[in-house]
């Protein structure tokens, strides 16, 4: 087919536009990385765009050796691992049981699970309930409330419903109970869906900061994103992060001490942001093919 001149111009223009768009999404991450790897005082002069001018590891090092940042990092890892496994398991078994079409009272139970999607008590009654359950100021406030994800319940149930009945019946005849069937047959064939749901759950856990900010007061229990929010919105917290670096300089040699004097709150903030973003950015390209499927399962319902 002949390509008209108009279409050719459009093609070039379109490619250019999308390239700019892609770069504009990538660029802020490059910018932050450059700032976190540049000497803080030097950055204040401006002119850092793509690469660090006065390259240094000191910002990253200061942040990584800060005990509060370390605590926050491990809390984040902990809640992500425990929370994801727990949520996917609890939601998964519930969705599987509800996928049996002949289950007595199935409709009624589904309505019970759907009502909270339509109406909620709101934040304050929720907070009061968490307090009554003794979850305030506890690590489990990150885990328990999210163990059953209603949206994922629906997605998983419709996936399980599409597994051929004959497969389950064959196992039943062999004398397997539903838990064994779930574990040995259903999970292995549902792996792509489970991977997608797990990825979304894990990212949500890693990025969550609200629960850490309002349901937990103990600094050592705050996850990394809450800690980030804290230093973003609270000048004192940023100052504390910098003071942490002063103690580093006191304990190490003179050269490090000299370098640490160039540390600015901004450079440290950028270093923490990199620490808070890197794990997700590393994992997501690896699991991309799963979550594209996951979005489609969740988004386009037949």
């Amino acid at each position: 087919m002949k390509i008209s001149r108009g279409e050719k111009t459009f093609g070039v223009f379109n490619t250019l536009l999308l390239a700019i768009l892609a770069l504009s999404t990538l660029y802020p991450f490059i910018y932050m990385t450059a700032l976190s790897l540049n000497e803080g005082l030097d950055s204040l002069k401006g002119g850092i765009y793509f690469c660090a001018r006065a390259f240094t590891w000191i910002n990253i090092k200061t942040v990584v050796t800060n005990p509060l940042v370390q605590d926050a990092f491990f809390i984040s890892i902990g809640r992500t691992v425990v929370g994801t496994i727990g949520t996917v398991f609890i939601t998964g078994i519930c969705a599987y049981a509800l996928s049996f079409r002949k289950l007595p009272y199935r409709k009624l139970i589904m309505i019970y699970f759907l009502i909270p999607m339509l109406f909620s008590g709101g934040l304050i009654p929720y907070y009061i309930q968490l307090r009554n359950l003794g979850l305030i100021d506890s690590f489990f406030v990150y885990i328990f409330p999210g163990l059953l994800n209603i949206w994922n319940l629906i997605v998983m149930r419709s996936f399980f419903e599409n597994i051929p009945d004959s497969l389950i019946e064959a196992a039943e005849i062999d004398g397997a109970n539903p838990l064994t069937i779930f574990w040995r047959i259903v999970i292995p064939i549902s792996m792509p869906m489970i991977a997608a749901i797990s990825l979304f759950t894990a990212v949500a856990h890693w990025n969550s900061w609200f629960d850490g900010a309002y349901f937990v007061n103990d600094m050592s229990l705050k996850p990394l994103q809450t800690y980030l929010q804290n230093i973003l919105m609270n000048a004192d917290a940023a100052q504390n992060l910098r003071q942490g670096s002063a103690s580093v300089s006191a304990s190490s040699n003179a050269a490090v001490a000299a370098a640490s004097r160039t540390i600015t709150p901004m450079a440290l903030k950028m270093a923490v942001v990199i620490l808070g973003t890197l794990p997700v950015l590393i994992i997501y390209p690896l699991l991309q093919r799963y979550f594209v499927k996951g979005v489609l399962i969740g988004g386009v319902k037949e």
Partner: protein, 319 residues
């Protein structure tokens, strides 16, 4: 309910089973399934239904030491905010932000998907996609840092560009008029690539014969887009539209709160942030619950309305 299964089981019957016995046998047959549902059932009761019961705080003089049930009823006293101009300003801020976000955020992924669809080079297309949905996976806190780093008055990239072009520095975060553009641009930036996935899938699912027929009829690329692609993804657009309706009061706490400061507060305070501040920060549980209740009711009506719409036009139901 499970008459057949009960009949099939070879048990010697002395007398016919009563209805309740049959029902019980049906339930017993599914005992594993019920056991699997139980944990989820309890969790939803604890974290969803109990807070619904807690709504009574909106009509009570809630006292932490007395608890929800024994605190005194005070009628509609907690709803005094409805006569408060401060509340109505917060309400209008919320509507402004949600409407603007919708006006720019809804078409953006459709346009992106249409443009991506025209790219013939597979590798380039994949790279653009991968990069544009990357921001979806970082937190709003990180986005706030990005905004701060790029727009900072002293060393931000944008202000450096402005001065290099001979323009004045702008104190973006400390101005009322820049707050809404910042919110809109950052939310489009974060979500456009990810939302485009669904539209791209819809485009990929279109029948290629339609395009062939259009080409035979002499349609160029633009005409094909207009008459084949867009009508083809219309059902998907309709579903996505309906799905956004229930969120019309949800301006996005996660995004807005980290970007707030005393200067932009007159435009940046929205219902969500207002409830957190009056309730959790200042401890006015009653009024904050009352505001939450009104929001929940409006949200409920929006969901039901959206569902009616989708039944009528979309052939699909949300629930």
């Amino acid at each position: 309910m499970n008459l057949e299964t009960a009949k099939d089981t070879p048990i010697t019957l002395t007398k016919p089973l009563s209805k309740t016995e049959l029902k019980f046998r049906g339930i017993w047959k599914y005992r594993w399934q019920f056991a699997m549902i139980l944990p989820g059932f309890v969790l939803v009761f604890l974290f969803n239904y109990m807070p619904m019961a807690g709504i009574q705080v909106a009509f009570k003089d809630y006292n932490i030491f007395e608890g929800i049930w024994t605190s005194k009823w005070i009628g509609f006293e907690n709803f005094y905010f409805l006569k408060d101009s401060e509340f109505w300003r917060v309400f209008s801020n919320t509507i402004w932000i949600t409407v603007l976000k919708f006006a720019f955020g809804f078409p953006a992924p459709i346009i992106l998907a249409l443009l991506l669809n025209e790219i013939k080079n597979k590798t380039f297309k994949k790279w653009v996609q991968t990069l544009t949905y990357m921001p979806h996976f970082v937190s709003w806190i990180v986005v706030a840092y990005i905004v701060e780093a790029l727009l900072s008055q002293s060393s931000g990239l944008v202000n450096e560009l402005l001065t290099s072009m001979g323009m004045k520095r702008i104190y973006f975060m400390g101005s009322e008029e820049w707050f809404r553009p910042i919110i809109i641009i950052s939310s489009v930036w974060k979500e456009v690539g990810f939302s485009a996935i669904i539209y791209l899938a819809a485009i990929a699912g279109l029948n290629p014969q339609l395009y062939e027929a259009a080409i035979v009829d002499g349609a160029n690329k633009w005409k094909q887009t207009l008459h084949v692609t867009i009508p083809g993804i219309m059902p998907t657009i309709a579903i996505m539209l309906i799905l956004t309706i229930p969120n019309l009061l949800n301006a996005g706490f996660d995004q807005i709160y980290p970007l707030q400061n005393p200067v932009n507060l007159p435009v940046s305070e929205v219902i969500d942030t207002y409830v957190v501040k009056t309730g959790l920060n200042q401890g006015y549980y009653g009024p904050a619950t009352a505001i939450g209740l009104i929001t929940s009711i409006v949200q409920f009506m929006l969901v039901v309305g959206a569902n009616q719409l989708s039944k009528k036009y979309g052939d699909t139901r949300l629930f």
